[in-house]
Symmetry: C2
Subunit: 380 residues, 2 copies
């Protein structure tokens, strides 16, 4: 029984709250409005009477609100379960942890596959283009809804780390500590290129139907699976793939053909197939585009006032991460240091590539534990 | 006028020769037969009276017989024109250079898009699966047809280098020197993974039609373009993409959307589109699968007899190549050295990644020139 696992938060159901309405819509960074906006979220642990132990967890591109514990009847726990729970780095006996699905997502928060109440049809490509600050606006509203004036910390990996960076630099009063893992403050040409090909695969699938696939009863499965398979290669280090699969044939012996001959092909196929059941093609387009445009240090004057009440940063990279290499993290650190902000940087040795941020490497978790413990000691 | 270029071999027309017939078919490595087999090829320079100055050029995955000079009316020269011509490393005033399209290709040599005379329809997926040694068998037949008993050298990059490696280790009497550039003796899991996703993109395109697209009057353009775009990312180094494109917007200003916003996207789009006009989806499947299975050192006893009349090897890698990194070349060198074969290894500094083998870097070309000059001096 999963909830007997002593380190687990147990069974958790995702909740949904309407944070913006037709009358009081969300105002997006580009000035347009969107409403209503529902947000799917989960919480773990107990908010202290002083409301000073809240940590916001930001998910990566294909994550969701279900970060920890087990959905009713589920066998597998949430995507960051190894981080969150009694005795874990985000110790739910001491921290109150919040996790919410992103705006534009497809796991309960309003996104392009949501019905547009004005038309009675899914938004599709009429959903507004988003910016990183829109993610923050929505999650700030959730924090406010939960009655929390200031977060002890926000933490996220990959896109989640980028959201944390945006939050901490645009609204420094909102949080005391920020943990930015395996993230980037500016995608390079190769990063953009991989995302562009993924979007190409999706949008050139005949079943994409200009984004209206849902109401036409189809789904760009082939394009979405191809996109996921390619992206997955970039999440794992070359050495990790070699160690895990090498050139092992999938069947008993190699029988050449164009189907799945090698174990690594079977693995990727499975990654692609499993993804179809849980993710939406339009969300993939919208969220990757937000990453492409993110560039919070383009205007360095924006950082000028931050040193007055500085957020304490922990920036973490993994030495085998080739999607967002340590170079990306060093750039973040450089800009934060120039802005006179306190920043601790760790490059963690890990063979697993970008996905290391989801794993429970000893050095990695020890680094996070030390940072969160110190944060709790120092308080808001 | 291109043919006024003093370093160019001038206007060259691809020739085609039938090397295997219905009666005397090609016997493939797996025991099956194929006939007729036509081979497209070009030659540059003049075969010496002693027939001792012939160099065979092996092309990469998407190359063709047209390595040098200008096709009639063409503005752009062949794919390895910077290497081949008067005064160039393969100096056509001294060397007789042969370049031929691969078996299974789509540029004049028999391949899956060729009409099967037995059925009157294109082979499609009924074309036999190939092995690297089949490429060699066909090109050996061409060399024999040209009246050449022994090659002074064979040279190739990427898949071309792999063919050279196969040729030199399976038929060492055929050649005196072998130049293996940016190649691999065994694809790793990541290499296979990228090829698997490329094939997935092609085969999941509804217009692939189980390989019968040609006779149905369609073409899996979307899948093939996606495959090419993704592969192209792996041919270029991260730094080269950054240096060339950075985050430059494609238009005058960034107008966010899901089309081509960044210059790197436009570039990849163009790579995908241009590819459609010159390459066939089935050839992509067949040739990449040959690469996946290539593993000439799996049985090291096969190398035992090679030291008797040793082929002299030059193995070249590029430090920014992440498709076939220097690690791949070092593995080749290690096996050749264990077999007591003379091998010179150079890791060339080049910022351009895998595609460096097609460029005319000074250190690279100086290395090739020295090797070819020495080869000519020593003779057969």
């Amino acid at each position: 029984m999963p909830h007997r696992d002593p380190g687990s938060v147990g069974v958790v159901e995702t909740q949904t709250v309407r944070l913006f309405s037709d009358d009081q819509p969300l105002v997006l960074a580009d000035g347009s409005t969107l409403g209503p906006v529902d947000v799917a979220y989960e919480t773990y642990g107990t908010l202290s009477d002083a409301r000073d132990n809240a940590v916001f967890v930001c998910h990566a591109l294909t994550g969701d609100a279900h970060a920890a514990g087990y959905a009713p009847g589920a066998i597998r726990p949430g995507w960051w379960d190894n981080l969150i729970g009694p005795g874990r780095p985000l110790d739910t006996d001491r921290f109150f942890v919040i996790s919410a699905n992103l705006l534009g997502g497809c796991q309960g928060t309003t996104g392009p596959s949501t019905l547009n109440p004005d038309t009675g049809r899914a938004y599709g490509l009429s959903f507004p283009l988003l910016q990183m600050s829109d993610f923050v606006t929505v999650h700030r509203a959730l924090v406010q809804h939960l009655g929390i004036a200031r977060l002890l910390a926000a933490v996220g990996g990959s896109l989640g780390g980028m959201q944390v960076l945006e939050w901490a630099t645009s609204h420094p009063d909102d949080l005391a500590n920020a943990v930015v893992v395996a993230a980037s403050s500016r995608l390079n040409a190769q990063n953009i290129a991989f995302s562009a090909v993924a979007r190409k695969a999706i949008m050139s699938d005949p079943d994409f139907r200009d984004g209206d696939y849902a109401e036409l009863g189809v789904n760009p499965d082939r394009g979405l699976a191809t996109a996921r398979m390619m992206a997955h290669i970039t999440y794992v280090s070359e050495d990790a793939l070699s160690a895990k699969f090498g050139r092992t044939p999938q069947g008993e012996a190699i029988r050449p053909g164009f189907d799945v001959d090698f174990a690594v092909e079977s693995y990727l196929d499975h990654q692609g197939e499993a993804f179809l059941g849980r993710f939406d093609a339009l969300s993939y387009l919208y969220l990757t585009r937000v990453m492409d445009y993110f560039d919070p240090f383009a205007d360095t004057s924006a950082l000028a006032g931050l040193a007055k009440r500085p957020v304490k940063f922990l920036v973490v990279s993994f030495d085998s991460d080739w999607r967002f290499s340590t170079q990306h993290s060093r750039r973040i650190v450089r800009h934060l240091e120039r802005a006179q902000l306190p920043v601790t940087f760790r490059e963690i040795k890990s063979p697993w590539g970008h996905d290391s941020f989801l794993l429970d490497g000893a050095q990695y978790h020890a680094t996070l534990t030390a940072f969160f413990d110190r944060a709790l000691e120092e308080g808001l």
